[in-house]
Assembly symmetry: C2
Homo-oligomer: 745 residues x 2
């Protein structure tokens, strides 16, 4: 039973709870704002979002140089259907007036429902019990439902609802925080408000992107259509208002208003309970595939349940959408998709839900035109350069040193394609989408890099560590580029052998000479290594910089990005997040064990973890290096980040990459799962403090369960043909159940 429960009403927590308890299904996301609204001055970010739906906003610059993007795609808050006001007689319900006898929020991750339970006494002394359930349907992604039940404890009289659908929505803004939109702009204008039968349909148009979204809303009172949303009650009696909402947008439907109306009508043909039942079934199927069990620590179990549930709520369901940095839980980072998806989130879907994983890759394939255009702007004659942040393919970063300069995103996207290929062997998909991505990204590396003597070097890029800017030969970037180049060659070879290469060659224009050059560049790739220290250098210059003694800096100065100029940070040995350490997580082939350990030991004390993308990787690599206590400590930090709001900005939305990191911490950290050219390998370990853990994963057409406990490890074939794995480096064919003892390093 996975339930998150928080009791008590604290106005200071409203915005954070809006994210934590939000309801979403990968398409519609609704923050858990209060139906009744909040008084002025109380922080609330009221928002409903549609994945992949965007407005264009002009970007202002003090000095605009060539190639700086003119405009930015922004995920706007769309029509607001959350508002329901309840009148108890002539007294309007608000937790800020009267007496709150009980107030709690529940996220029922088995039912797929977010609930508020409230017992409220009016100023005149009438007591009512409210149960407000919300659901964003996993079965019908357009559908969002509110079931608002009011029970009279001691009140006799009228209960009246005012339920609205509003197109007056502004973006939340904070000009002092670069991670949030700078201006409270308006993104949408009402185009049409109609009433069709007893359904209200509101169509909004984006101000600059020429897109539309529509929301259709219908009501039922006590399960029946009702003219006036009002009823008389006596003590012990209850009434239930159902608010049915369907959302559709013009990227998915030619006539969003009609589409929303149609969906709503079909949905309302059934009783609301049917949709709650369908939700439970869909969520249950998800847990069957995706559950990670943690034995011996309930807090961690609920944290991992929360993380996986939120990943599923956040992830796009079609090729028009992906996973935003805050999912559909808030407006932070303006709804943009980053490398977070491929590095932190994709493996969860790859290992549990092949169809969803494919859609995430199709999204990247679909924005290749934008990535090619971006490459041209950046001065590259060939290839595609994925935008650092985007919704529909445009580069949306207005600050290139930690935006477009992060060329590694190409390797990250290519890496996800290769993981899919290695796990599935799905050559049709590679012919259709995957190989084109690999070749276009590889062509870019060939153009951006150059031979210096006999080494292939890549200059003037920024690696994952955003505190170190515009460097030459970032180790992470070069290692990733090498894998990208090699992967493109190998996949093209496989396609050629299968007679499927022609389409890719036609689309990319790649020549045999270019494929040879890929191999040559990969072979000669410069990987900076410091002989004296015996570690991989983050880049050509990092190890010559001043060390920043971060232990001496007061805690209130973190994250440093809010308190230090980027030049100051870039001049010092200080990391925002895992960089060379992340490289060793993703690409350990050919890396000497000692060098890997020394590299970890060198960079870890220099790392602030000011990015939420950092602790999980350090935990995974601690496990990789056998330090399970450290792995466990990082896992605890990772697991509780949003639940405990340790970054103090969960109000702006959940940290989806970190949520993915929670999954990775167990599966790739403790269980040591890796996906490589030879398939899946495992090196399970059991940290002290846990009794065990278990999860299942896809490999080829099979599904395998992995259980690790004090008594040993057990692999069980759940579905499909016998599965070939490597366990502690040895080949294993899992046919039924395979047991072996757990090793530690």
């Amino acid at each position: 039973m996975s339930i998150l429960y928080q009791e008590g009403f604290d106005p200071a927590l409203i915005a954070r709870q809006e994210a934590i308890f939000h309801t979403a299904n990968g398409y519609v996301g609704v923050r858990a704002s209060l139906e009744e609204g909040v008084p002025e001055g109380v922080k609330s970010i009221r928002g409903t979002y549609l994945n992949g739906f965007y407005n264009l906003r002009p970007i202002a610059y003090g000095e605009k140089l060539y190639g700086f993007p003119d405009e930015q795609e922004v995920m706007p808050g769309v029509a607001d259907a959350q508002t329901i006001r309840l009148n108890v007689g002539d007294e309007l319900f608000s937790p800020f007036t009267g007496t709150l006898e009980h107030y709690s929020r529940t996220l029922d991750m088995d039912a797929g429902v977010s609930t508020r339970n409230i017992t409220w006494r009016t100023e005149k002394g009438a007591t009512v019990r409210l149960t407000i359930d919300r659901l964003a349907s996993w079965a019908e992604p357009a559908l969002f439902l509110i079931r608002y039940r009011v029970e009279s404890v001691d009140y006799e009289g009228a209960l009246t609802f005012e339920s609205t659908l509003s197109g007056e929505v502004r973006a939340y803004a904070d000009p002092t925080d670069p991670r949030v939109a700078p201006l409270a702009v308006r993104h949408l204008a009402v185009e049409k408000a109609e009433r069709r039968e007893d359904v209200e349909v509101l169509t909004l148009k984006t101000l600059n992107a020429q897109q539309r979204m529509a929301c259709a809303v219908g009501h039922r009172l006590n399960g029946r259509p009702a003219g006036r949303l009002s009823a008389q009650v006596r003590p012990g009696e209850a009434i239930v208002l159902e608010k049915w909402c369907a959302f559709r947008d013009s990227r998915r439907a030619a006539d969003p208003a009609q589409a929303a109306f149609d969906i709503l009508e079909r949905a309302m043909a059934e009783p609301i309970d049917a949709w709650f039942a369908r939700q439970r079934a869909a969520v249950s199927a998800f847990w069957d595939r995706a559950r990670v069990e943690i034995r011996g620590d309930e807090a961690l179990q609920s944290a991992i349940d929360f993380s996986l549930y939120q990943l599923m709520q956040s992830a796009g369901r079609d090729a028009l959408s992906s996973v935003a940095a805050k999912g559909l839980s808030g407006e932070g980072y303006e709804g943009h998709y980053f490398w977070d998806t491929e590095i932190y989130i994709f493996p969860f879907f790859l290992l549990t839900d092949a169809a969803r994983a494919r859609e995430l890759l199709r999204f990247r394939h679909g924005i290749l035109p934008g990535a090619k255009a971006h490459a041209r702007v950046m001065g590259h004659a060939r290839g595609a350069l994925y935008p650092w942040r985007t919704i529909a393919g445009r580069e949306c970063s207005s600050y290139y040193p930690t935006g477009s300069a992060q060329y590694h995103i190409n390797a990250d996207v290519a890496g996800a394609v290769l993981q899919y290929w290695h796990l599935s062997g799905d050559i049709r998909f590679m012919a259709e989408c995957g190989a084109e991505v690999l070749v276009e990204t590889a062509l870019l590396w060939l153009d951006v890099g150059h031979m210096n003597g006999d080494k292939f070097e890549i200059h003037s890029v920024t690696g994952p560590d955003e505190y170190t800017l515009l460097v030459d030969n970032n180790y992470y970037t070069n290692v990733g580029a090498r894998a990208n180049l090699i992967g493109a060659v190998r996949v093209m070879r496989a396609l050629t052998e299968a007679g499927l290469a022609d389409g890719v060659i036609a689309k990319t224009g790649v020549t045999p000479a270019e494929l040879d050059a890929f191999e040559d560049a990969a072979r000669r790739m410069l990987l900076p290594y410091d002989e004296e220290r015996g570690i991989y250098a983050q880049d050509d210059s990092f190890l010559r910089k001043k060390v920043l003694p971060i232990a001496d800096i007061p805690r209130d100065q973190f994250p440093l990005l809010l308190n230090r100029h980027p030049l100051f940070l870039s001049r010092h040995q200080v990391l925002k997040q895992a960089d060379a350490v992340l490289a060793h997580f993703l690409h350990e082939e050919g890396v000497d064990e000692g060098a890997m350990r020394r590299t970890y030991d060198y960079y870890e004390p220099l790392t602030t973890h000011d990015s939420s993308l950092s602790p999980c990787i350090h935990g995974i690599m601690a496990a990789r290096l056998g330090d399970m206590d450290k792995a466990m400590a990082y896992f605890r930090e990772t697991a509780r980040l949003d639940l405990d709001d340790t970054h103090l900005n969960t109000a702006d939305g959940l940290h989806t990459a970190n949520l993915g990191g929670v999954y990775l911490s167990v599966v790739m950290g403790f269980a040591g799962l890796r996906i490589g050219e030879e398939g899946v390998s495992l090196c399970p370990q059991l940290p002290g403090g846990l009794e065990g853990y278990a999860f299942s994963f896809l490999v080829g057409d099979s599904r395998v369960r992995c259980e690790v406990g004090r008594e040993g490890c057990q692999l069980t074939l759940l579905e499909g043909p016998p599965a070939r794995l490597r366990v502690y480096g040895e080949g294993v064919l899992v046919t039924g159940t395979y047991r072996f003892p757990v090793r530690s390093k």
Copy 2:
């Protein structure tokens, strides 16, 4: 006789001519806009500017990181007193209507007057001759005069003037050019418009900086006060409208309106001819000191006359102002002061006008509080970091990679102070201002750099070449920092010996240990040198980058900054402007002759000269290396830049650094003058194509004339005690006239 004359009326040239023919005196600058205005759609940047007077404008960012400036000082166009409309009967004069029989513009650089001569026939057939003189008084900096003479050729009837003073002024903007303001904002609002006696006084207030400026305007018709500005004429008769304008601002006067009124009243107590005579006298005195004669090339003579005249028009007269990138001739670069002043312009004033040179240094001393605040923002506990672009001391760059990252500005300012010290030996000034600048800038170097092994290194800065960003150990920067550190130590020693050090120690808090550290850092300063090529490396990474074959790029792609992303440029070996070559111009001590030549030969073909700060330095260094043909070619390019509008943006204002470069080309290029610790040295050469050249210069309390011709070289003591110089490396004491043959390398 120095006259610039352009005949013919071309609407496309109006904006350019507004800059070329503008009138200024270091305080007031008035673009040579047409009194009668232009029709809509014709490009004109109508502007009047007050040096050092600014508004604050908020800076917009897509992503604002810590330390990015919130607002920018901007030199606004102030109250516009240029407008005079002439009615010939009922026909309004405009060169766009009727028939222009003659149209010419004259800049009389002996009289200090800018004139338009026009013969115009109205549509009805009346012909008038206009002579419109303008003068920004060099004797009374607040004063700007227009003398508008109309002579009837064949017309009989009324001539009527409408003369206005307007506070409705907007900034010129071009959102596509980073060198120009992005938005046509309004900087000023009318605070008060008064009439005092027959004088109109308009007070404007800046919208954000809480400053005021006032303009007082009075008129005379035919030398007398007049109620209506109208008179009857017959053929052969003429009338003259005098428009007297006085400008004052609240940085210089507590009550600018009263101050402007008082100045105007005093000025108008004399006939206008007296002010024209006084102007001629002031200009004549300037030429006595400053003239550079070029024998055998009239075009070059007029170009150098033009350059020096414009420098004098541009340079601030008090410690509140300096020399803006466009002087007072336009709004390009928003009126900001850059390093241009110290490196390109200061030597002209230093060698010809000690008082003005001192004011330029006092300006830098005066903004030390801003520079210290900037250093703190950039993370430095000690020292001052001069803002890259500023008016009153704030860092005004919104793009730090080519803004605040150009730490070399500290060395540039310190270098100017040291030049003054070496030339003048003025220890009082050093005690009062100079040493504080040297110590504060040196303290900054100590903080920004660090010891790496036994070398002092400076990381994450941008050198003069703005196409190469955020590098380690930029040679120019490190060489300049070294001179700055040594200079601070030596001047502090001299002050200590003279018993004058206490004030500086009290103000800066500099300790003996810090002074020792200055010396140590200077001694260990890393100067990147490439053994293989035998050249100085621009920085640690430059020589590892890809070479950009600039000869293959079509000319219409230049300047590359308008057609290539900064990351692309930074990834390549390509220079915007002189960098290591500039270092060798300023600091040749200890540089081997061969290395200097190889360095020049290596970088020159990689240099686009996309900055107007580049060709003059290449010419000077070509002369230094004995290639006089190349020196002469660069000199010609430098000399004609604005006159021929070779950068296609003279309309936005003159390139004052390049104007200074014209002077440097002769004095430091051909004559090889340098100012060092041992005073002034000369190595005169005579390029082919010139008969000779001559100029005078200050050295200590003396003034020396240097004449170079086919017959040899001659140094003459014009004023003061015998002057010690070095000529071709040999010490010389100039007492009367000293003759010697010209050498070539």
